[in-house]
């Protein structure tokens, strides 16, 4: 039988105080993962595919106004609402703690899309097409999804698998923050992010940079009004989906409405 041993539990920390909304992660993801080109019509139909997206929220209006950015990708929930509703077990949690999508099982029921509170699952309403010459740049490690298939962020599982193959099976080492960064095994968005707002790692590993945040979240349950020691929070935490993506609150020295004190 295939063992179901947990080798890693991959997770990400997103520091909202650093994210500038620059779109480097968005384009890096599209380039890495063979996403169909979002033509103008895709935006007009509200069917643009972005495995990682930047949401922009306004607060206030001129002159006391803020625009805030947040990158949102699959949260790789440990208690994923998308998984139990799939009629064909196309989506499940794998032994790296990833929420994965088996494309050749997917029958396009779209229950998972409906049940995902983060809206990070995408349906291919059309067969993706590229000009023939663009097919030259398609990543051979990533399946091109056909019409009728649901797709989503994989934390660049192809890079993690390469890492496991090269570092763990061939060299007998273990993937860690350092060799993942040096040898291009980090997810494409994390590698690209110019402000280092995204940090990725294995939170089973006590030495990884993301570990303190996961420890904090695991130790302090906001549902029991326990206060955290870091800026950590989970997206839509009240749903108890147990995401493997932690957000760090944006630091706000001059909140709107405090002009009297800060000018």
């Amino acid at each position: 039988m295939v063992t179901n041993r947990i080798d890693h539990t991959w997770g990400m920390v997103v520091d909202l105080d650093r994210c500038t909304g620059c779109q480097a992660c968005v384009v890096a993801c599209q380039a890495e993962n063979n996403l169909a080109i979002n033509e103008k019509s895709a935006f007009l139909e509200k069917r643009a595919l972005e495995w990682i997206r930047i949401e922009r929220y306004w607060e206030g209006e001129y002159p006391n106004v803020k625009a805030r950015f947040i990158p949102i990708m699959c949260q790789h929930c440990s208690n994923a609402p998308c998984e139990p509703v799939c009629p064909v077990f196309a989506t499940y949690r794998n032994d790296g703690g990833l929420n994965v999508q088996v494309y050749n099982r997917c029958i396009g029921a779209r229950y998972c899309i409906n049940n995902c509170p983060y809206q990070v699952r995408f349906f291919n309403f059309w067969h993706p097409t590229w000009p023939a010459s663009f097919e030259n740049y398609l990543n051979p490690d990533v399946t091109v999804r056909t019409r009728g298939i649901t797709e989503k962020c994989t934390f660049c599982v192809q890079r993690l698998r390469r890492g496991e193959l090269e570092v763990e099976r061939r060299a007998g080492g273990r993937l860690n923050d350092q060799n993942m960064a040096e040898r291009n095994y980090m997810p494409a968005c994390v590698q690209a992010c110019p402000t280092n707002a995204l940090t990725f790692g294995d939170h089973l590993d006590p030495d990884t940079k993301i570990r303190p945040y996961f420890d904090d979240v695991h130790a302090h349950d906001i549902h029991h009004e326990q206060e955290r020691t870091t800026r950590s929070y989970l997206l839509l935490e009240e749903l108890a989906t147990a995401p493997n993506v932690i957000y760090l609150k944006k630091v706000e020295p001059y909140p709107i409405g405090e002009n009297e004190h800060n000018g």
Partner: protein, 763 residues
């Protein structure tokens, strides 16, 4: 054995048993088990090559993943000192230029009025013939070049008695002039944003497009890191437009366009008056010995009311008090850094603005210090032009005159689209269309300039060609970046290297041209040997050949031990600066200040043919594929204008159209329009939009010049807006994800629910 249905089923059954039996191997098979994805079924090996990205003015070091002769992914080179393994969206998108379906396959010659494919022999003969017959006073136009290509282009033009001129729609000429006047430096300084404790930026959209945005973004990440330097730094942006950078500031202060320099001098006045300057500042030199009445004309009381600061922002205090507060914050939270650029330098008084802004760094001791400005040493390769020559608009006006007068009869254009990027008022398009002017383009794609050319000799894409760059600004030490071909052109294409064409042509026609190299590679190898002879820096090698190999593997050479010069102010610097002060003219009724801006991914239009760049939503408006005009949301609503209304933007006797985007943050008297769209000639993805939703704001700008530098004052225009009565849907990302239901409740304020905030030091 004949394959019958029965046989087939039997074999299928056997193989199923085989699959179960093989499970004994455990882990080795798990990736091929049907419940796991087949990610590692691809057995080929990939190679990662180091080279330079050429899709921004700041060449970033990149690694390109190549598999089976095809480039697959471009990403930052972790060793390259400028971008330290990071990259912008533009670098990734650049891959699409390589495999673009509409690359020109080979040379095109205008025959009977239309461009027709010809062979390279015919095309090169035509080039030589034109050089011989009308080469005198030729003008060779390129992008700013700081590698060997810059040397080659300069000497080539000289050999034929012509001139080499560079083009960039948003040139750095004014910024360079300010750095020269304030710091007496030719090279631009590095900005140590990461170690600053207070960053004050005037107009520079440095997180998006200004100068070296990836490098500044890395610094910005560190600025926001409580563990770096003296804790989380504060960032204040002063900007007439609510840019992406302004959105990321802790505090954004709008300002009347053109008043940036006055505010900076007012801050200096307060710092000196209240004795807030750093301890070792040579006030005697800065003030010229006139400390008592220092910048008296720029007191907060006289400047405050002119800045256009709304009362609602000031919270019951006067503008003068707010200036004082800002000056105290800036001076007391050292290391503090003042920077300026983009619209602040693109006014008629742009040079004054930038000088006044950068001089602030002297007062807080940030010149040549940690958390301040770091100056750069000269290039180790003096043969290469550094900094690259940047032509001002005034020079372009001279070129157009020379074309019209019949003095210049041959125009050679490489990696530049001046017909698109210059205001129509300059008249380049008409000059090129003259029958006595022969234009040669080296563009791999059609664009507005090459579409008018008489001969097109398509260049290689940067991933197929050699090159080098000495970054300006450097990181505070000497850096030479190397660009190498990582793939060959597809067999369906036959481009030739621009540098190689210049070299071979010059050798044939002008033996005295001081261009001894047979191709660009030879020139690069010679420079590599010169670096090897220095015997220092990042590469340790025993021979020239070993050095060359390591140079290519690293993506360049650098020497972190080199440092820039020490910089001191000239005597009476502030009185010099104050002399240039001039206030912008008042806004007419029903007029708006127009602030055009470089698009986050399309920049000045150079990336419009890349679908990844087109489809990356603008950070603030989330609009894609279209041209929009941002108008204050409340003012638009008062006038009855709605999102998607087609608006006529009129200036200087001409107009363009764009779709309205009501922006809640823009000042009511400012409109902002991105550059980039509105191409009429070009490859797929760049063209095809209707005029109503795809237009070029640069075309209607007044050809006004920045005082003294002669650069285009592109942010100094006023416009009138008129709705056309038509409306189109805006192709934006915003609204694709609606507010969602949680439990039984719809989130009322998704911004606050989704993006949580905390006071400094809290959790």
């Amino acid at each position: 054995m004949k394959l019958t249905r029965r046989n087939f089923l039997a074999w299928a059954g056997l193989s199923a048993i085989g699959a179960v039996a093989c499970d004994a191997f455990g882990d080795d098979l798990k990736t091929q088990s049907p419940v796991n994805q087949p990610e590692d079924l691809v057995k080929g090996r990939d190679n990662w090559y180091a080279t330079l990205c050429r899709h921004c003015p700041s060449s970033e070091g990149v690694l390109v993943r190549v598999m089976e002769g095809r480039a697959k992914k471009v990403q930052g080179n972790p060793k390259y000192p400028i971008n330290l393994g990071k990259q912008s969206a533009r670098c990734d998108a650049g891959l699409q230029a390589l495999y673009h379906p509409d690359r020109l396959a080979g040379p095109l010659l205008r025959i009977n009025g239309t461009l027709q494919p010809v062979g390279w022999n015919i095309a090169l003969d035509k080039l030589k013939e034109q050089l011989e017959t009308r080469g005198e006073d030729l003008v060779l136009v390129t992008e700013p070049l700081s590698g060997p290509l810059g040397t080659i282009a300069g000497r080539f033009a000289q050999a034929f008695g012509g001139s080499h001129i560079t083009f960039e729609a948003l040139s750095n000429a004014t910024y360079q002039a300010a750095v020269k006047n304030v710091f007496d430096q030719e090279l631009l300084p590095d900005l140590d944003i990461g170690n600053a404790n207070f960053l004050l930026s005037f107009g520079a959209d440095f997180l998006s497009t200004w100068i070296s945005p990836t490098r500044w973004s890395i610094g910005f990440g560190d600025l926001r890191d409580a563990e770096v330097g003296s804790g989380r730094g504060t960032f204040v942006q002063i900007d007439p437009r609510f840019s992406m950078t302004a959105a990321n500031a802790d505090k954004w202060l709008p300002i009347k366009p053109g008043m940036e320099g006055h505010l900076a001098l007012s801050l200096a006045h307060v710092i000196v008056q209240e004795k807030l300057q750093a301890d070792d500042v040579d006030l005697q030199a800065l003030t010229g010995g006139q400390e008592a009445g220092f910048l008296a004309d720029f007191s907060p009381e006289s400047i405050g009311p002119k800045l256009g600061w709304p009362e609602a922002m000031l919270g019951g205090r006067s503008a003068a008090e707010s200036i004082r507060e800002l000056a105290r914050d800036f001076a007391s939270h050292r290391p503090s850094l003042a920077i300026g650029g983009d619209s602040a330098g693109a006014q008629k008084n742009g040079l004054f603005n930038l000088e006044a802004i950068y001089a602030l760094n002297y007062l807080v001791g940030s010149v040549g210090a940690t958390g301040g400005l770091r100056f750069n040493p000269k290039s180790p390769l003096p043969e290469w032009p550094q900094p690259p020559v940047v032509a001002a608009l005034a020079q372009w006006q001279q070129v157009v005159s020379a074309l019209n007068e019949g003095k210049t009869k041959l125009l050679l254009v490489h990696q530049a689209d001046p017909v698109y990027g210059l205001p129509q008022a300059v008249g380049l398009e008409d000059a090129i269309k003259r029958t006595d002017v022969f234009t040669v383009s080296f563009s791999p794609f059609l664009d507005e300039t090459s579409a008018l050319a008489d001969l097109i000799l398509p260049d290689r894409i940067y991933l197929e060609d050699w090159g080098a760059d000495t970054p300006n600004p450097g990181p505070g030490f000497q850096v030479v970046g190397i660009q190498q071909p990582v793939v060959n052109p597809l067999s369906s294409l036959d481009p030739r290297s621009f540098g190689d064409i210049l070299l071979s042509t010059a050798q044939e026609l002008r033996e005295d041209a001081r261009l001894p190299w047979n191709n660009l590679l030879e020139a690069l190898e010679e420079s590599s040997n010169a670096l090897f002879a220095l015997d220092r820096g990042s590469i340790d090698a025993g021979s020239e050949k070993e050095f060359w190999t390591k140079l290519l593997r690293q993506g360049g050479w650098w020497d972190e031990k080199t440092t820039g010069p020490a910089v001191k102010p000239t005597e009476g610097l502030y009185s010099q600066i104050a002399k240039g002060a001039s206030e912008p003219a008042a806004l007419g009724s029903s007029e708006f200040y127009l602030i055009p801006f470089a698009h986050n991914t399309l920049l000045d239009g150079r990336n419009t043919h890349l679908p990844w760049a087109q489809s990356a939503p603008d950070p603030i408006t989330t609009v894609t594929w279209q041209t929009w005009v941002e108008v204050n949301a409340r003012r638009a609503s008062d006038m009855g204008w709605r999102e998607g209304d087609v608006i006529r933007i009129e200036a200087n006797g001409s107009f363009i159209q764009a779709l309205l985007y009501p922006n809640p943050a823009l000042p009511p008297d400012v409109v902002a329009v991105p550059m980039g769209q509105g191409r009429r000639n070009g490859p797929g993805y760049a063209v095809g939009g209707e005029e109503r939703e795809s237009s070029n704001i640069l075309s209607i700008l007044d050809a006004a010049l920045v005082n003294e530098t002669g650069a285009l004052a592109w942010a100094g225009n006023r416009v009138r807006l008129a709705p056309t009565g038509e409306s189109l849907r805006v192709s934006k990302f915003e609204g694709e994800y609606a507010a969602r239901e949680i439990g039984n409740q719809i989130i009322n304020n998704p911004g606050e629910e989704i993006i949580k905030t905390v006071a400094p030091g809290g959790h």
